[in-house]
């Protein structure tokens, strides 16, 4: 049994007036257009449901006290609350499935402290990583959260999805680089969670490690208002080298060799598979042309001190060459790596089979896999995608696969295997959404779980098509049952981002 939406309280004029008292008139948005643009986030969306998930009101709190008062009000009146950061997530975390109040955290972008001696900064969670790094750069420091949405995502959303970064192999990911954080619970209680009970200690053995509980909660437990984040010295050298391979086996083995060689400075290693290279070749205006015999491309990046990176790069070259890799030169290295945040957001990347440009939106699945699962998953993902391309001609397209290192602070073990899918989103109908798009996603998620892998490495598995497989199969060994207990305990009225992670099931008989 799930909580019916009718049990939620309405956003009445009285509620609006109270919200205005809390955050000020100008920070309560009731205009339909201002609300409607907060209905979706970054992934292909069910445009046909736009009105159904447009929040009733948007509030922009200025700090923790505002959030406390908003949540107390919402809890008292059982009004759904959906926190929203940059709206750049790919798992629908910021989609207000039950309408209600959208708490847009963008005004909470203050830098409270930069503690250079202890190499950390205390910030509001409405801050964007690029903006933070603009302030840190003159100090020779960096917050190393390097994601596709680097220029627009916000820390709160990154915490909400337990974010992953391109250079996590060297610096760690969001669960590692966020030291502690301030959480406002649905009843207005404010708690700081970290390694132990203090704000700047990374490793502690005191008590439960609650930081991990409030990481990647997708807004279902609390709103994170402040965080202490890790600072690193800015790397003296950042090297990106691309190598061409003419077959999968050598490319795959080269990935293994480079990630297990024991480099301390390796930041990432990647494979662009054959379908990805084919797709990029279609994309004539933004890709540096590669010779025809290039079928797979491997990338290795090293960040750190010059005295560490230079010899590591030299040895890395030897490893790649030993597997038949051919260095593609500095232009490819610098150009492609420099455009890593930008290049996949151009909707005219879409191509019909005969090469004509067509309007498609980019989507990527983000399976977490171990090394030996990669070949089978790669084949299976392409197979699933091709099946739905045949079933719905012109609606979907296989844009190839990336494989990235994913284990924090080391290259080996875990990988992100990402199939990119072009979606003709404007042409989707309710039928092709349900029976095409969602079923395809579900099959991809199922393929991952069948291989004992995880549905999501970075976006979160609360998206339609993913959530059912993730919660009921991947988390079947008691984890989902425990999640439901925790959810019910912390959020007894189910106001926090209801409808996500199948957590409505927590409120059954």
């Amino acid at each position: 049994m799930t909580v019916a939406t009718t049990t939620y309280g309405a956003v009445t004029d009285e509620v609006i007036a109270e919200l205005k008292r809390i955050v000020g008139d100008e920070n309560v948005l009731t205009d339909l257009h201002e609300r409607a643009m907060r209905a979706f986030n970054c992934a292909p969306a069910p445009l046909q449901r736009w009105a159904d998930q447009t929040p009733d009101v948007v509030v922009l709190p200025g700090g923790t006290e505002d959030v406390v008062d908003i949540l107390k009000l919402a809890n008292e009146r059982r009004i759904p609350v959906t926190p929203r950061g940059g709206g750049s997530g790919l798992a629908d975390g910021a989609m207000p499935l039950r309408k209600g109040i959208c708490v847009d955290i963008k005004r909470m972008n203050e830098i409270f402290e930069i503690d250079e001696e202890n190499m950390c900064a205390t910030v509001g969670t409405g801050i964007n990583m690029l903006k933070l790094n603009e302030v840190l750069e003159p100090l020779g420091k960096i917050f190393p959260d390097d994601l596709a949405g680097y220029a627009n995502a916000m820390l709160g959303g990154r915490i909400g999805c337990g974010g992953w970064t391109l250079v996590g192999g060297r610096f760690g990911h969001i669960p590692d680089t966020v030291i502690s954080m301030e959480c406002v619970l649905p009843d207005g209680q404010v708690i700081w969670v970290g390694g132990g009970g203090t704000k700047k200690i990374r490793k502690s053995s005191s008590g439960y490690r609650l930081k991990d509980l409030f990481m990647q909660h997708q807004g279902t437990l609390c709103i994170v208002t402040r965080a202490v984040v890790e600072l690193y010295p800015k790397s003296e050298v950042e090297f990106a080298g691309y190598f061409a391979f003419d077959n999968w086996e050598d490319s795959y083995q080269a990935l293994y060799d480079i990630t297990t060689a024991g480099f301390g400075t390796i930041s990432s290693a990647m494979i662009f598979d054959e379908e990805k290279i084919d797709f990029l070749r279609r994309d004539d205006e933004a890709f540096i042309p590669l010779p025809k015999d290039v079928r797979f491309v491997n990338l290795m990046t090293f960040y750190g001190k010059k005295c560490e990176v230079e010899p590591a790069v030299k040895e890395g070259f030897q490893i790649m060459k030993a597997r038949g890799g051919r260095y593609l030169g500095p232009e490819q290295g610098e150009g492609d790596w420099a455009s890593r945040h930008d290049r996949y957001h151009l909707s005219y990347h879409g191509r019909t089979p005969d090469g004509q440009a067509t309007l498609m939106s980019w989507h990527c699945e983000d399976t977490a896999a171990y090394h030996t699962a990669l070949p089978a998953l790669r084949a299976r993902f392409h197979e699933i995608c091709r099946k739905y391309m045949d079933l719905y001609p012109g609606l979907f397209d296989d844009w190839g696969i990336f494989i990235y290192t994913s284990n924090p602070f080391k290259g080996w073990g875990d990988y992100l295997i990402e199939i990119d899918i072009g979606v003709a989103e404007l042409d989707l109908t309710p039928d092709s959404w349900e029976n095409g798009w969602i079923k395809m996603k579900k099959e991809i998620a199922q393929a991952a779980v069948d291989m004992e892998c995880s549905v999501s490495i970075c976006h979160g598995s609360c998206r339609e098509g993913d959530d059912d497989v993730a919660m009921h199969q991947e988390m079947r060994h008691g984890t989902f049952d425990m999640m439901k207990k925790i959810k019910r305990m912390i959020d007894p009225n189910n106001i926090m981002n209801p409808g996500k992670y199948c957590l409505d099931e927590a409120y059954g008989d």
Partner: protein, 413 residues
Amino acid sequence: MTYQLSKKDFYAEPLSKSKAIPEEFVKEAYLVFACRHKFCRDICPNFDITRNEAHTSYGFHTSILAISRGVGEFDKLMDNFTYCLECGACELRCPNTSMGGDFYRRSTTTLDLVRKVRRDHLADGGEITDWSAVKDYLDEHRGLVATQDELVTKWAEGIKLAGDMKTALFVDFFTATQGTEVPRLAAQILGKLGVKFGVYATPGVTAPELLSEDEEEWKKYATDNVKHFKELGIQTLVVVNPHDYALLIREYPKWFDMDGIDTVFVTDFILEKMREKGVAPSVAIEGRFAYHDPCTLNKLVVEADSPRDLVAQVTGAEIVDVPPGNQWRYCCGNGNGPFRKIHEDVAYRIGQKRLRAAADLGVDTILVACPHCKDQFTDVKTKSGLPVEPVHVLELVAKSMGVDWETTSPTIG
């Protein structure tokens, strides 16, 4: 030069509260919505203050798409659409422009969109809150048309003009009446450099605000201008206001044949003449200065070098500000259209943030290359008390060349 940008013929079709959004507009809106990474949002100087993404390129395009899906109404758009500064940062930062260029004729043209939506709304009988201030400003300029050639005699009082129209100074109404130091300084510097030039005295209403009210009227003045340029045999048009410069090289080529007319911004032209004649400013002016890139130069036409290079000609003068690419996020707060006239408070906060960034550099002067920036910063300085004085680049150069413009400045009634 011209700055190639998509001219989308489908923009000719009016949008209206009584009609469905045309298919091409749906695609246009979707292109920005579908990116969803919102680089346009976080580069927007207005968003930087209000933190409301409804006021960004993403917001504008998403609203259009939402209407096409039955969510929202065309005549309710205005409360957000007036928040566009028309600075162009979003267009530059959008992957549709930065990665696709104009390959698909689908560069993001936010300025064209917001201007079109405003004027279609007005043509539809709609109202825009506080538009009266914009209308008053345009009416004031319309009122100047009948006697526009007399303006020159006022702002150029005491300056000898050679009258050779092969090279003509283009002086718009704002500069001719409120920013008179700029054409005076330009004229005196050019005179000192021995350049023969005339003044184009009949620009009509060129204010970009007019593009948000009546495009046909704006085009009527522009048509007259192009006709006159050719009749007068103008070969080089030296533009003193970057707002007009952006219009001349971005908008005019969409509608008119500008072949044979070299449109140059005043700092570029002065620099070129200095180099050509081997003349450099001789009086040293020691100082560290902030420099504010006008949005209309740095973002709308991506020209940022010449004001900096001109300052570099002045012995002892040093610019210590961030480079042009890092100034995309800045605006003085005036914007390139009606913004400041409607949202005075937000305009002030944007300007205050920019002046504070200059103050943080430890300077007491911010150089500008735009009369609107100077006007706005002067206002912000007075209200905020921030200890940074706005000074036009030409004033610095003039002083270094021994031109004392203040002593010959006319009084404009």
